[in-house]
């Protein structure tokens, strides 16, 4: 498994070609079929593109991602390919256009190798909710890789792609990155265009990279970031060079440890692993201080009210009329809607549509939805206040390491609590990155999360890169 820097060195030394690399990744995908990380793979198309990239490399006209082979979560549209969202309701949907993030990767000469498995409509924390079977953790196939972008995390961990794109609505990039042992980043809301991303909760969803190291994540972010007129919520703010932001230095950096994130839910092993990394920063000149995010205990409730409300509205479009699955033998239009949706959606998606419909319904709107929006502001203010004192925050990514398949499927609330450290970034709209932070005594990866100010991905990437390379 090689980072993009190593790949580029090989390419310029002439010891490999983009075609060879793509072939290697395709063989790894084939060898790792039991992990169920991919929903579709395009060997011929990928090899064809790789040959075109090789031609450009030979004449010195290649774009920045030449030699990078990328897997993309199957919630992002790629023209002429299926986008299933892990759902039976979109099983045969072929996209007539490409997502902006994917188009930018292609324009930068990346090769797209396939689309990865996921919790249906990105709803889940274990990638067990896919209509096409669960994704397995490469280190122990009886365990889950986290979710919802479990397929993308596994693709990078198992050497099936150089990097991958996922989406993060409440932790769906960072939590699987932590549980599989790779780097996963959720940029600031608005940093990356959502055009061509099938919506789950529009005020939360954000696209971001999985990679073997922070620098690779920075290279991908450099390409996919920036305003897009096709997404009016994409922010029209300058995009710095995130690779140049890796300063190899944390002197004077003010790091906050939010005390609410180090409570009883956290295992001692994860706590100890975190402390070691914090010590590394301290001994290299960072200033560590405890901070408080007083509304932390309300994040899960707020998140599941607002995100399900948005989901119930976004998923109203699946009616069996214009695209997607339509139930057989229906007598009238109303029955077509009800039967198509009931047979097309899986249990967790239905549960969230129901919850969202409930919190938006007449009589409950103020008690739940509006209340949730108000608490969302309090949660965001907690972060804005903390960032007056510190430049970034360090927390665990997940309260536990990878759990066993089936362990939490019967108790939705228990599954929702897998996200206690990640949903706050989506509620506040701030960027976050999870990086590997050792492993527990069973050898399962632990993740460390770094949270930053709005549009300050540069700082958290620098800290991530520093911790990767520094000695403990």
């Amino acid at each position: 498994m090689k980072t993009f820097d190593a790949i580029r060195a090989d390419l310029s030394a002439g010891t490999t070609t983009c075609e060879q690399l793509t072939g290697d990744y395709l063989r790894a995908i084939d060898a790792g079929k039991s992990l169920n990380a991919f929903l579709s793979v395009f060997p011929e198309k990928a090899l064809q593109r790789a040959r075109e990239v090789d031609k450009k490399l030979r004449v010195g006209k290649a774009e920045p991602l030449a030699g990078m082979v990328v897997a993309v979560k199957d919630v992002l549209a790629l023209q002429g390919e299926r986008v299933t969202c892990g759902s039976k309701i979109l099983e045969n949907f072929v996209s007539p256009y490409s997502a902006t993030s994917i188009q930018r990767l292609l324009d930068a000469d990346a090769v797209i190798v396939g689309k990865t498995n996921m919790d249906e409509f990105a709803m889940g924390s274990s990638t067990e909710n896919s209509a096409f079977g669960r994704v397995k953790l490469p280190q122990d196939e009886s365990r889950i890789p986290g979710g919802s972008s479990g397929g993308s995390a596994v693709a990078v961990k198992a050497g099936m792609a150089t990097t991958a794109l996922g989406t993060d609505t409440g932790g769906s990039i960072r939590q699987p990155a932590a549980l599989t042992g790779v780097v996963g980043m959720k940029p600031t809301y608005g940093r990356v265009s959502r055009y061509g991303l099938v919506a789950f909760a529009s005020s939360f969803d954000q696209i971001g990279p999985f990679a073997l190291c922070a620098k690779d994540a920075a290279q991908v972010l450099n390409v996919i970031s920036g305003h897009d007129e096709k997404d009016s919520t994409s922010a029209d703010v300058p995009v710095p060079d995130f690779v140049k932001a890796l300063k190899k230095n944390v002197k004077g950096l003010r790091v906050g440890l939010p005390k609410e994130y180090y409570g009883d839910a956290l295992t001692a092993e994860i706590r100890n692993a975190m402390e070691k990394k914090v010590d590394v920063l301290r001994s290299n000149g960072a200033v560590i201080q405890e901070v408080s995010l007083p509304h932390t205990e309300y994040t899960i409730a707020t998140y599941y009210i607002l995100a399900t409300a948005e989901a119930s509205s976004n998923l109203a479009r699946y009616d069996g009329a214009r695209y997607g699955f339509r139930a057989d033998g229906v007598r009238d239009l109303a029955e077509m809607y009800t039967k198509s949706r009931s047979q097309g959606f899986g249990a967790e998606v239905k549960r969230r549509i129901m919850l969202g419909t409930y919190v938006l319904s007449s009589g409950y709107y103020d008690a739940y939805y509006r209340k949730g929006q108000k608490v969302r502001r309090l949660i965001q203010e907690d972060f804005l206040n903390a960032f007056k004192k510190v430049d970034c925050l360090i927390t665990p990514t997940s309260p536990t390491t990878a759990f066993r398949a089936g362990e939490r499927t019967d108790d939705p609330l228990q599954m929702y609590l897998s996200d206690i450290y990640t949903t706050s970034a989506n509620l506040a709209g701030i960027p976050g990155i999870s990086i590997p932070c050792g492993s527990d005594k069973q050898g399962l990866p632990i993740g460390l999360q770094i949270l930053g100010k709005h549009f300050d991905e540069a700082t958290i990437l620098n800290v991530a890169d520093f911790l990767e390379n520094a000695k403990e």
Binding site: A321, R341, K371
Partner: protein
């Protein structure tokens, strides 16, 4: 606040979903668990807090109305479960009952 099977049926009708009697019972139980958990927001006094609907400041985006190429009719119909020439085809709506 406690949710009954009748509430679940009403919400299902609004969401255009249907469930077996066993699923309804399971949903009612899970709903009550989840909503009880959400009740904790009522510990907070939010009477002077403005609701937050956009995490970054959004401006209304205006542009000239220019004609640009979009999906062709063929592309728009390519994923239709049923079509008739240039149209999406659905079960009969008018003239029943």
């Amino acid at each position: 606040m406690s949710v009954t099977i009748q509430d679940v049926e009403k919400i299902a009708a609004l969401a255009r979903l249907e469930f077996t009697p066993e699923e309804k019972e399971k949903f009612t139980r899970q709903f009550n668990d989840i909503l009880a958990y959400m009740e904790k927001l009522n510990q907070l006094d939010t009477s002077n807090v403005e609701p937050l609907s956009h995490v970054i400041e959004l401006k209304n985006v205006l542009r000239e109305d220019v004609v640009k190429p979009g999906l062709t009719q063929e592309q728009a119909l390519q994923n239709a479960p049923a079509k008739d020439d240039k149209f999406f085809k659905v079960p009969k709506v008018i003239g029943e009952k």
